[in-house]
């Protein structure tokens, strides 16, 4: 019995202390255990795949680091980062002012682009002049709505919707001429049978009004790691690695401005 207790105690101690040996070249990436396909998803055998795990792998090759993925629930990611159980959150976390008070972000590594969608037969020039006099649909209280309000509200009429589904229905029945929608959610619809009458009329240009995008988060003041990640991400964009990974999962360009 005593022996058992000793072994157990030693085991506990070991598991507590085991992690500090290779701290220098080891970067622990936190990932929400709730999958978010196609950004992150998990197979039955426990392996992660998706845009973000692939990106992490490529990043680590470049940094020549060892990067274990640690699953934490979404709510627990920031506390886990602050208590040093993970070093980076690279998990579709939007850069917001509130979060920047407690953690630091790298430059955005993706941004959901906004896509113009209209009836297939419609010929459109999606500049403010081209859409003069048209009825444009957009989801209210989104960055897309802010963007339209600033650039398009003079010449065109804006219609605000609560849900993407309502807006799509109105577009299909001709109550609006064109809509500005979240590219990643609307693209699958255009490709499906339900959205066969609709067509992609191009992405809206990148603009600060669309928000700061999605960045990797590090502990406040961990500037060394933040710089490393920024440099590696920039290099991956420059040499095409980023695009290669991105095109596995998305046909639209989701890189940030």
């Amino acid at each position: 019995m005593q022996k058992l207790i000793k072994t157990l105690a030693a085991g506990c101690l070991f598991s507590i202390l085991a992690n500090h040996a290779t701290a220098a070249e080891k970067i622990v990436f936190g990932i929400a255990l709730e999958p978010y396909p196609p950004f992150s998803e998990k197979a039955g055998n426990g392996a992660w795949s998706g845009f973000e795990p692939d990106l992490i792998q490529a990043l680590c090759q470049r940094l020549q680091a060892q990067c274990p993925l640690k699953e934490v629930s979404w709510d627990g990611l920031i506390p886990a980062l602050q208590s040093s159980q993970i070093d980076v959150i690279l998990n579709s976390m939007s850069i917001t002012e509130e979060r920047q008070k407690v953690i630091d972000f790298t430059a955005p590594y993706y941004q959901t682009p906004a896509m113009w969608v209209a009836d297939k037969s419609m010929e459109l020039v999606t500049t403010p002049e081209g859409l003069k006099g048209k009825l444009i649909g957009v989801q209210g209280s989104t960055s897309n709505a802010t963007y339209l309000k600033v650039y398009y509200s003079k010449g065109s009429t804006l219609r605000y919707y609560n849900t993407q589904d309502d807006m799509t229905a109105d577009l299909q029945s001709g109550r609006i001429d064109v809509m500005l929608a979240d590219a990643l959610t609307i693209e699958p619809l255009i490709k499906s049978a339900a959205g066969s009458g609709l067509a992609d009329k191009g992405l809206a240009p990148k603009d600060p009004l669309f928000g700061s995008g999605i960045g990797a988060a590090v502990r406040k003041g961990d500037d060394n790691l933040r710089q490393q990640l920024n440099t590696a991400l920039a290099a991956m964009k420059a040499d095409g690695t980023y695009d290669k990974i991105r095109s596995r999962y998305f046909s639209v360009d989701i890189s940030a401005q």
Binding site: C12, S15, I16, L17, N19, H20, A23, L33, E34, P35, Y36, P37, E41, K42, A43, G44, N45, G46, K70, E71, V72, S73, D75, G76, P79, A80, Q82, S83, S84, Q85
Partner: protein, 237 residues
């Protein structure tokens, strides 16, 4: 509706059945660890409450009140995150490297401490339900203190405590799901991942529910056997 071949594809070929079974094993491990720890704490606290010095009784009362008042989820977050922070601050003060706390140990510790508070009350009640004459008789025979606890008090207390304790076990099995917040892959979190990755939410949530149900059924059977054994000397009505 989902077809049978799709189901076998999901559960067998994609390996999710295996993952769920592993998750159930983890759930049982966490629950068993916490239950044993909780029983130990509970027995100690119950004895203190009944026989201890005044200041320890106060402390014990404070413990059972506090841990039954604060939600387990909050305690897990506190111990796992704030606790690690404190531990690391202490390590830094001593000039050591930072450490990480194992999720499993954190789970067993937190749930065990909470279980201890509940089981202390159950055990205390059960001890008080022992007819005083029995303990007096034992003392009259000159049985010394710890032998009395081990050979008289515990066995005569158990029949009164069993119902409450088996209930506590079932609650604990479900409470262990809370540990998914710290990313430990127990049954529910594996189920969530399966659902989120495959988009077959209903299928996997039902499968997880079925597994918890099976665990409950099996534990009920086990407790029935145990109860029959423990109650064997009780007067039959």
């Amino acid at each position: 509706m989902i077809s049978l071949s799709e189901l076998t594809q999901l559960f067998v070929a994609n390996g999710w059945l295996n993952a769920l079974l592993q998750g159930s094993v983890v759930t049982l491990q966490i629950s068993a660890g916490a239950f044993v720890l909780g029983l130990g704490i509970g027995l100690l606290v119950a004895l203190i409450k009944l026989k201890g010095p005044r200041w320890m009784v106060r402390l014990a009362n404070f413990y059972t009140t506090l841990y039954r008042a604060v939600p387990e989820l909050l305690l897990i977050l506190l111990l796992y995150y704030a606790g690690t922070d404190l531990l690391n601050m202490a390590m830094a003060a001593m000039g050591r490297d930072s450490v990480t706390v194992n999720g499993f140990i954190a789970a067993v510790l937190v749930l065990g401490i909470v279980q201890g508070a509940y089981s202390a009350e159950i055990i205390r009640g059960a001890i008080q339900a022992i007819p005083v004459g029995q303990l007096e008789a034992a003392r009259a025979f000159g049985i010394e203190r710890w032998l009395l606890v081990r050979r008289v008090l515990l066995p005569t207390m158990l029949p009164f405590a069993m119902a409450g304790l088996s209930n506590l076990w079932l609650v604990l099995v479900k409470d262990s799901a809370l540990i998914s917040i710290v990313g430990y892959s127990e049954l529910l979190s594996v189920g969530k991942q399966a659902a989120g990755s495959t988009k077959h939410y209903l299928v996997f949530y039902l499968a997880v529910a079925a597994m918890y149900f099976i665990i409950t059924l099996v534990s009920n059977g086990a407790f029935r056997v145990l109860e029959r054994r423990i109650n064997r000397w009780m007067p039959q009505h």
